[in-house]
Amino acid sequence: MNNDAILVMEHISKAFPGVQALDDVGLTVRRGTVHALMGENGAGKSTLMKVLIGMYQKDSGTITFQGQQVQIPDTETALKLGISMIHQELSPVPYMTVAENIFLGREPLGRFGFIDKRKLYADTKALLDRLEIHIDPSAVMKDLSVANTQMVEIAKAISYDASLIIMDEPTSAITEREVAHLFRMIRSLQAQGVAIIYITHKMDEVFQIADDVTVFRDGKHIATLPASETNKNHLIAMMVGRELTNIFPKEEAAIGAVVLSVRNLTRKGIIHDVSFDLRRGEILGLAGLMGSGRTQVIEGIFGIESIDAGEISVNGNRVQIKSPADAIKHGMALLTEDRKLTGIMGVLPVRDNMMIASLQSYVSHGLLDKRRIEETCHREKGRLEIKTPHMNQTIRLLSGGNQQKVLVSRWLLTQPDILILDEPTRGIDVGAKAEIHRLMCKLAQEGKAILMISSELPEILGMSDRVLVMHEGRVGGEFIRQEATQETIMRAATGNTQLVA
């Protein structure tokens, strides 16, 4: 069986600061087959693919492609070898045409080295016709729908005449009709001997199109087997079947009255009819796969993005939240998902980062009371055990965990009733993680209501009193602590609620 393998990856390891993203994994793909790659968020699928196309460099291991051991230092090399990839995040050049996008970097040249526009558009038209994609080659990318943009990306990946095409969630943005079209294209590529690595969360697609399935979990290879020898429940079990190695210090807190009540929250095309209640002392986990709309829900609640419909009530009173300032006024606090992008002010000192949301409490006679600010900073530093040499330290120079503690402190200083924590422990080390978990329990016991988004199922299960699962912009399931298991959540997250174990 190994002689018809087009790709053999063996003993691949890759570490990022604080995370072992890939731990001695392997992957063998047979010529002319579709190989599904499955796993939870952060299981290592995308990392392995980025190693394969030269976006990341592996720490160790070997890659054998078409029988030759190869080194892939950059994407150009990967393309030359015959490996192309459709990325999950689309990255078209918006003001260039479809044809220019498809042939970017390999434009046909005519006399004097000028671009041969006629050939460019003719080639594109031929390509799109062959794939039965009905898009005008001279259309400007930014005018295309998301689905058509995705189809252009697919056409582009195919146009390299690659012998191995990686598709990372290619159907996340397209409709059923286009999915069927994509599958037809995949089958015809297969017939020509092209191999496809297909990354998806959608179980149905796996059984429709895949020949083989490989499951990853926590950066490790779990199993590879023919699709015909497995089923949905078996796959889900393999994807989540990890032991709860992390110990969560969840302590009971008295759960009181409803503090935050959300009804029929809708942002057109993004989230639909999301409703839930959050009670004093409660930790409500918000689970779901990437792109399921978790972050979009809280963006709507916190006034970062405007909502199209829905009601938000705080302590029983209907409130209008048009900006984060409104949300803060109503006792909310939001620890955002992306610490660097929306959390820290990188070049500013720890002090400013900590105090920025609560400065109004430190004004006397129009000036800031520096001594009280300093006292508060030192109290917070001690309370949260923030490791920083002094408060003037540029926050960017602290570790991720300490940055996160400064941000937690920023929000606690606003004395919120409702804490919204989006991936509160992403990318921080184990020690800081446990401290943040302990702090969450303490805050719940103090009567604060906590809404926690997490992509880590053990964290959701370990910390939540109740779990809300998002699926494609809707609430796909709700479980109390006793009912919630990795399997039930994963099923709700993948839209397989009707399945019986």
């Binding site: 002010m345 129009g366 800031l368 920023r410």
Partner: protein, 345 residues
């Protein structure tokens, strides 16, 4: 044994770290001192009280603009309009400060108290700044474009208002730019000199701006917006209002600069202040203000302005050609930004 060595090394490392941090933070001051000593050695005339006061007086107008520009740059913006706003404020203020019996008076028979032209200059500047801020915050126009537009428009209005110098200004008005207070500075063979009022104005504004940036909520919010606008918004800051405030202050200071300059030369001219905005940006950048936002101090900007002042003055004293002066000035700006970029890596 090994423990001793590593302890010693540690102390040495700590000392070196401290020295590095000190040099990084005050590099610009050290450069200024070195330049100062260099000029002192090279030119006899440099260190006289008269010359030193001259340097500061020469930078006082540009320094006022630079203080406003520093705040704008801290928010990751830029203000290209200050030179033109200065001119518009200068002609309007001057026209309200003319002697009633001047032969070429703009408003015949009008004799207003000096407070009117003063307020007019400040108001005109603040209004232009407010428009800049509204364009940037309300219409989300890049600051470069919004203030470039204002640069042209304000210059046009200045010329439209008066296409020739507005002269014959009252003595009280001219006192603002020409007067001196505290006549105690000894000058050999002459009566003691006082502190020129423009220098006093610059000092007061600089101290006020420093306190505002460091000791008020508004000031810290300015840094926060420059540090991470999205994070600032999520922290509940009204980013738009703060930006409008910053541009308005920058405009107000450009208006004040127009008042000072027109009273110093005794006439308001529509062609005043051309290129001042670039010198002001240069002073801010040399003083360590980061064009990527979030970083910058008023004292740094003042030192930056002094460096430009000493450079102009010293190169004049040394008879370096004006052409070389611009080349040297330009190179220093670029080097300052290179140093700044490396510091922020």
């Amino acid at each position: 044994m090994q423990g001793t060595i590593s302890a010693e090394t540690q102390t040495r490392n700590a000392n070196r770290d401290w020295l590095n941090a000190f040099v990084r933070k005050y590099a610009i001051v050290l450069i200024f001192i070195a330049m100062f000593i260099g000029m002192w050695i090279l030119s006899d005339a440099f260190l006289s009280p008269r010359n030193l006061l001259n340097i500061v007086r020469q930078i006082s107008v540009m320094g006022l603009i630079a203080i406003g520009v520093t705040m704008v740059i801290i928010t990751t913006g830029v203000d290209l309009s200050s030179g033109s706003v200065l001119a518009l404020a200068a002609v309007i203020a001057a026209s309200l400060a003319q002697q009633a019996d001047w032969h070429d008076v703009k408003y015949p028979g009008l004799q207003l108290p000096v407070i009117v032209p003063i307020l007019a200059a400040l108001l005109v500047g603040a209004a232009c700044g407010w428009v800049n801020g509204a364009l940037v915050a309300g219409f989300r126009i890049p600051p470069f474009i919004a203030t470039l537009g204002m640069m042209t428009v304000a210059r046009g209005f200045a010329l439209l208002y008066s296409n020739r110098p507005v002269s014959g200004l009252t003595d009280t008005y001219n006192f603002i730019g020409q007067g001196e207070l505290f006549k105690v500075i000894p000058v050999p063979n002459q009566p003691p000199m006082g502190l020129p009022i423009p220098i006093i104005i610059l000092a007061v504004v600089a101290v006020g701006a420093h306190i505002m940036l460091n000791n008020t909520r508004f000031g810290r919010h300015i840094y926060a917006i420059g540090g991470n606008e999205q994070a600032a918004r999520i922290s509940g800051l009204n980013v738009g209002r703060i930006k409008i405030g910053v541009y308005t202050i920058a405009g107000l200071l450009a208006g004040l600069a127009g008042l000072v300059l027109s009273s110093r030369i005794g006439s308001g001219q529509p062609g005043l202040g051309v290129g001042y905005e670039l010198d002001a940006i240069a002073a801010a950048v040399i003083g360590g203000t980061s064009l990527s936002g979030g970083i910058g101090t008023i004292w740094g900007t003042i030192v930056g302005a002094l460096i430009i002042g000493v450079l102009n003055n010293g190169l004049d004293l040394l008879n370096v050609s004006a052409y070389w002066q611009t080349i040297i000035k330009g190179s220093i700006i670029v080097v300052a930004v290179i140093i700044d970029e490396r510091k922020n890596r």
